[in-house]
Amino acid sequence: MNNEAIFKFRSISENEAFARLVVASFITPYDPTIGELTDIKTVVSEAVTNAIIHGYDGRDDQWVHMTLTMQNNVLSIEIRDEGLGIADVEEAMQPLFTTKPEMERSGMGFTIMEHFMDAVEVISSQSKGTTIRMSKHLASVQAECH
């Protein structure tokens, strides 16, 4: 069973939990393992948090966009903001790099995404915003679907 869902929601911090639960709801019918589910929820939290606190710098009246697709057991997640953008993507993706050390950010968001997903692509342009595209083959998901 292939599927596709496209969303936008307000850039309030509560929507980190909302987005996480939406993704869990999207993949639950494919019956992943708890480990896969936890990994994916973690990754979505990181990307949505980044959009809200870095992209929109805490402005809570903006839109965060999310696209979910499932095709042949490959889950793709795109999370996009129309915020500040990233000056140097390569630098931003380094482990421990953060521009908000005062907020006790760990600088590990991108590292976690790269570790938990099969592929991560970051497209960003300053003052236009940032798009994160990630995908993962769900190994535990049966080819035959319910």
Partner: protein, 77 residues
């Protein structure tokens, strides 16, 4: 990161469907118990606290089985 993943994953190879079914049973019991205790239906947070699981888990567990019978119950009760 491997550490983080292992920490987060604890019991990670169990299928979601199985854990959801198990939790659904516990939620039903907690719901009954808290309802008689409070004299009203409990909220999601109250059930999550009682069972020491996240609200996310409760939400997902409540959808494990689609029960048309319950629609009937709620409408006609």
């Amino acid at each position: 990161i491997g550490e983080i993943q292992r920490f987060l994953r604890d019991d990670g190879t169990v299928k979601v469907s199985r854990s959801v079914k198990e939790l659904a049973i516990k939620v039903r019991r907690a719901k009954e118990q808290l309802s008689s205790q409070y004299g009203r239906l409990p909220t999601l947070t109250e059930i999550a606290e009682e069972l020491d699981v996240t609200v996310d888990d409760i939400v997902l567990s409540q959808d494990a089985s689609r029960a048309p019978a319950s629609i009937h119950e709620t409408v006609y009760e």
